[in-house]
């Protein structure tokens, strides 16, 4: 957008900081008693999770970005493209925005075969990617089937392929796993996680499921009653004590990113390098050596010791500094800590009794004992 300070649209909606291709928006919309009032700048790369209870405005936000709805007033920019500016009476039509959408229901066209669905929005220059995407999504065997004959998981994968093949500059996913059972859900989630790494377009992933979001998102937007409560890197938000309530579903945990260092076949363990000095031993995975891995550690799975323990069943001990402490309003006999391990932050939860008896205080050096680590995604 030409940044003209006298532009009237900037008065109502103050100039948004914009990097070369990030999505920025400022929206005001009333729908009955619901009021969506949002200002956001999202990163140009990776996956942004939008998390909130139903009715928090997540889906409305997606529809506005896609151009399927128009706000009372607002500005939406994708990089330097103005998609919407109500003050300047600019509104790019949905079909010209090049924003792919994967809807809650697959919304496949019932009168086209899977192949026809996939190619419906495919521009000629994207046809070279057809085989690649079909392969990636594992839907080659389905190409000649009619949508009515597909299972829920298959239909979702076709819907994702269809959106990707329309060559979008941004992909929106609106709870794409809704209505799938556990195993199918995990499988598709892994698919999507892989996909978002292989295709280089930003993805906005809407969900009310904390597990999905923590498996897939790099950036997190918390929404509540039509407003953005917080927007930052996922790791960062998970460490904020003041958001414990809004993050409800996340069950106080830390997300750590590491690289697979080695596999221990004898004990079925995988060694994960968090940085140059810190390593974690986690249950064996099939992830190749050198590949990135995201793990999740629940706050209640961390115990503290004043000195490193010599003989213990805890496989993971990390020396750490207590950086912050807060009392939990929900359980007054517990305290929640933020531990600093090198450049890594960990949340830990212990009883107030332990805190007092061990003589802990902010700044104290301790050893964090990690009881269990789960792999958040591959």
């Amino acid at each position: 957008m030409p940044t003209n300070p006298t532009n009237p649209s900037n008065l109502r909606h103050p100039a948004l900081p914009v990097d070369s291709s990030s999505l920025s928006l400022s929206i005001d919309q009333r729908l009955g008693s619901f009021h969506l009032q949002t200002e956001l700048v999202l990163p140009a790369h990776g996956v942004t999770g939008i998390f909130g209870t139903s009715g928090s405005g997540k889906t409305s936000l997606l529809r506005l970005i896609a151009g399927l709805e128009y706000p009372d007033s607002g500005v939406i920019q994708l990089g330097d493209q103005v998609l919407l500016d109500t003050r300047r009476r600019i509104s790019v039509a949905a079909h010209k925005r090049r924003i792919g959408v994967v809807f809650q229901e697959a919304r496949l066209f019932p009168h086209y075969r899977v192949r026809g669905n996939l190619t419906y929005g495919m521009p000629a220059h994207a046809s070279a990617r057809f085989d690649e995407i079909v392969e990636l999504l594992g839907i080659k065997a389905l190409l000649e089937r009619m949508p009515g004959t597909l299972s829920g998981g298959e239909a979702r994968r076709v819907a994702i392929g269809r959106a990707l093949l329309s060559d979008p500059q941004l992909l929106l996913m609106d709870e794409p796993l809704t209505g799938l059972d556990g195993a199918r859900k995990d499988e598709l989630l892994r698919f999507i996680a892989q996909l978002t790494k292989q295709v280089d377009i930003p993805v906005i992933y809407v969900s009310h499921d904390a597990e999905e979001i923590s498996a897939i998102a790099d950036h997190l937007v918390l929404m509540k009653a039509g407003r953005v409560v917080a927007s930052n890197r996922l790791n960062h938000l998970l460490q904020r004590f003041d958001l414990t309530h809004e993050l409800g579903g996340f069950d106080a945990a830390s997300i750590l990113e590491g690289r697979v260092d080695e596999h221990d076949a004898t004990y079925n363990l995988t060694h994960l390098a968090l940085n140059d000095t810190h390593r974690l031993v986690i249950p064996g995975t099939s992830a190749p050596i050198g590949s990135p891995l995201r793990v999740r550690i629940l706050a209640r799975d961390i115990a503290l010791a004043l000195t490193p323990l010599q003989s213990t069943s805890y496989r993971n001990q990390l020396s750490a500094t207590i950086e912050d402490m807060t009392s939990l309003s929900t359980s007054p006999h517990s305290v929640e800590l933020l531990l600093n391990v090198g450049d890594i932050r960990l949340r830990a939860r212990l009883t107030r009794k332990s805190w007092d008896e061990m003589g802990l205080h902010i700044g104290k050096q301790i050893t964090a004992l990690i009881r269990s680590v789960s792999v958040a995604h591959y």
Partner: protein, 233 residues
């Protein structure tokens, strides 16, 4: 049964006028049905009522109104004659216009119901895939409304075939020009001593009606079957 030239002529004219009537009302019929199915606006019920008028008005009134507006002295008729040299009254084209007007509400009704049943979410999905309104309509909305389009077309055709009042008022009863089956039958009934000829036409009318009913039934079954075959893949 060997038909007389006059009988053949009546059958030929009936089919010609019926087909022409359906052909000219299809484009505006589809447009109006879509408009009513997908848009809400002030005065929609008035527009809706106006479209349904031919269904409830005496056909002679429709014929008279056509004569007043499309006749040589009518507002539209005068313009048509001056610019295109076209005069509709007392021609088979005029009969097609009259039957079309009478059949219009039937087409719109059936099609509108079918269009309303098409999920707007599919249309929204198509738009996010880069399809403009026209492409969404021709590739998603209309194909999914084909059952209604078929029903509406058959109904309209049957209505146009049997049209009498508006046709005789606007296009008159001219042999080899506007004397369709119903008009020929009426003429025979009016003529003393033509009872057996009238009975023959009556039988022909019944056969044509039955035939088109069976044809539409067969068409409907075939489309349904084709859709099921696809699903049963």
């Amino acid at each position: 049964m060997i038909l007389s030239p006059a009988e053949w002529e009546a059958i030929r004219l009936s089919l010609l006028i019926g087909l022409a009537a359906v052909a000219w009302i299809l484009p505006p019929g589809i447009a109006v049905a879509w408009w009513l199915a997908r848009h809400d606006f002030r005065g929609k019920s008035i527009v809706d009522g106006f479209i349904h008028l031919p269904l409830v008005l005496p056909p002679v009134v429709v014929g008279y109104l056509l004569l007043v507006s499309l006749g040589r002295q009518g507002v539209v008729g005068q313009w048509l004659y001056a610019t295109l040299g076209v005069s509709l009254p007392f021609t088979w084209q005029g009969a097609a216009v009259a039957s079309g007007v009478m059949a219009f509400p039937l087409l719109v009704r059936a099609l509108r119901l079918s269009l309303e049943a098409v999920d707007p979410k599919l249309e929204a999905a198509a738009r996010t895939l880069g399809a403009n309104r026209w492409r969404v309509f021709t590739t998603i909305t209309l194909p999914l409304a084909i059952p209604g389009l078929l029903t509406g077309t058959v109904l309209a055709f049957a209505r146009a075939l049997s049209e009498f009042g508006a046709t005789i008022t606007f296009a008159s009863n001219i042999p080899s020009e506007t004397r369709t089956l119903p008009l020929a039958l009426y003429t025979l009934i009016q003529t003393p001593g033509q009872e057996s000829a009238a009975a023959r036409l009556c039988v022909i009318a019944i056969i044509i009606a039955l035939f088109s009913l069976i044809a539409s039934e067969w068409l409907a079954r075939r489309t349904k079957q084709r859709l099921q075959e696809r699903d049963a893949y």
